[in-house]
């Protein structure tokens, strides 16, 4: 049996000087063609989980492995050929064009003094095409809308030709059309290119619609994990997010509707 792309096994982590664990008892395994979403309120440990998965932090207890090798033992350049990341935030210091920034995704494949080869430019074009962004190639980044910019960042991660794609809150600040478009794009990559996906989000409904498997965190502990219908029950959601909700079903997936709670009736 081949090792999963990413595997966390009983991970516990506490930041130096902190009085509480940031993560405790977290396990996760992502194979090719799987779309996993990690959910939870602010401060539930989602970003810590990404750092552990990428070897930026070492678990105090448990294991974090990428394709069977401990995440912290990967050379950064080798890891970047296997895992593409779309971080939550970044600001580009210098003005740059779209094609230039996507080409940065090829850097893990280049030798120290080597130039970009035709294959690298092909990979950039394929990544732009996959993200429906070829027509943006010669635009300056700062002329893009928020949704276009997110697609370009996904394209840059795809140019790395990774096996695993990690996205940290990719839908934040996007409007409906661009947010749905981005999720459809990611799901398409899972189906067509066989990527494994780990998406960090706090949008329960979109995660339930698109992901195969959810991991719900609260205060660094896993509350529920598995298929969306098993994880997103009214009881669990109300407990984790401390707000009353009603559950509905769309396309066979659970959807959460927050209920009104006027001030006088709040406990």
């Amino acid at each position: 049996m081949t090792a999963p792309l990413l595997r966390l096994d009983g991970v516990r982590y506490r930041y130096p000087g902190a009085t509480q664990d940031a993560l405790q008892g977290v396990s996760l395994a992502i194979a090719p063609r799987q779309f996993h979403a990690v959910l939870g309120p602010n401060g539930s440990g989602k970003t810590t989980l990404v750092r552990i998965a990428l070897g930026g932090l070492m678990p105090l207890v448990g294991r974090a492995e990428v394709i069977g090798i401990p995440a912290s033992q990967w050379a950064r350049q080798d890891l970047a050929r296997v895992v593409g990341v779309v971080p939550q935030r970044e600001d580009n210091l210098f003005p740059q064009r779209v094609r230039e920034t996507v080409l940065l995704g090829r850097y893990p494949h280049l030798s120290l003094w080597g130039r970009e080869r035709a294959a690298d430019h092909d990979a950039v074009n394929r990544a732009l095409a996959a993200c429906d962004a070829l027509h943006l190639a010669d635009r300056w980044l700062w002329t893009l809308s928020g949704g276009e910019y997110q697609r370009i960042r996904v394209a840059r991660a795809l140019a790395q030709e990774p096996k695993l794609l990690i996205l940290d809150e990719p839908g934040i600040s996007l409007d409906l059309k661009h947010e749905m478009g981005l999720f459809e794009l990611v799901l398409g990559l899972v189906h067509e290119q066989g990527l494994g996906v780990l998406m960090i989000t706090h949008d329960l409904n979109l995660a339930a619609r698109f992901a195969d498997s959810l991991l719900l965190l609260e205060g660094g502990r896993p509350v529920a994990a598995g298929a969306p219908n098993d994880v997103l029950t009214q009881e669990t959601v109300e407990k984790v997010f401390s707000w009353p909700v009603a559950m509905q079903t769309v396309d066979g997936r659970p959807q959460m509707v927050p209920l009104r709670q006027p001030k006088e009736s709040r406990a």
Binding site: R76, Q77, E90, Q160
Partner: protein, 312 residues
Amino acid sequence: MKWTVLAIVALLALVLSVVLGPAAVPLGELLHSDIVWNLRAPRALLAFLVGGSLGVAGAGLQALVRNPLADPFLLGLSGGAGLGAVLAIALHLPGPWALPIAAFIGALAALGLVYRLGLIGGASLDPRILLLGGVAIGAFAAAITTAIVSLADAAELRNAFLWLWGGLSGASWDSVLLVALYAPIPLAVLLAASRPLDLLALGEESASYLGADVEKVKRRVYLAASLLTAAAVAVSGVIGFVGLVVPHIARLTWGHRHRSLLPAAFLGGGALLAFADTLARTVVAPRELPVGVVTALIGVPVFAFLLKRWTI
């Protein structure tokens, strides 16, 4: 095309600085003249090497501290070098190499202190603290320097003041040879860091996800750029604006990819300083302006003009 233009500009700056000077040397005797061989040629080459080094160091540091306003001298080296040089002058240290060596030691001391401060938060080198620490150490050294200069007599004071504004009048074939042997090592280190430097413009987190070994790159770039600057300041004093303006001019034409940006900054910095030095020694001949005055007088208006394009 743009490389051809730059090469011609660089060559022209070198030729002009050999042909022009306060003493009239007929063109026909150019190749046989002692003034040309022993004074102008080494001085032109030293100006070119120093200007090129400052251009590359500035480009590297701007990417490292993620601040387009960074200048190689912003990180405290000028203060340390100035203090070393002024001490050498005040203590009447003998020999032609006393001043450059004292300045180099001063710059290295500042480099070490700033580097240590940059690591103050733990194992990770923090570029923001490098910047703040550099400014603080530089100001502290400058305060001591000013105290020493204020206690010195008039002739010493003038020497110290002129040195602080930079000048290439100490150029000799020895100093050219020294810089020509020393500079290629840090230059090669910076050139080898070209791709990680491109990635650093996205921030440290994104850079590491794209395969850059961020900690290693930050340390290498800081040390290489600082060692280049320390050598430049030792042989020619504090020459401002080359390391700030040249990388920006190069960016506007060559873009932000360091593989072409760094070589362009080297040629551009070399050409600018050779040209500025020619002006410094000819416009008020037989006296000489500090070359730092000329680079500032040329550099600031050019920079102001470029800022307009920068903010598009």
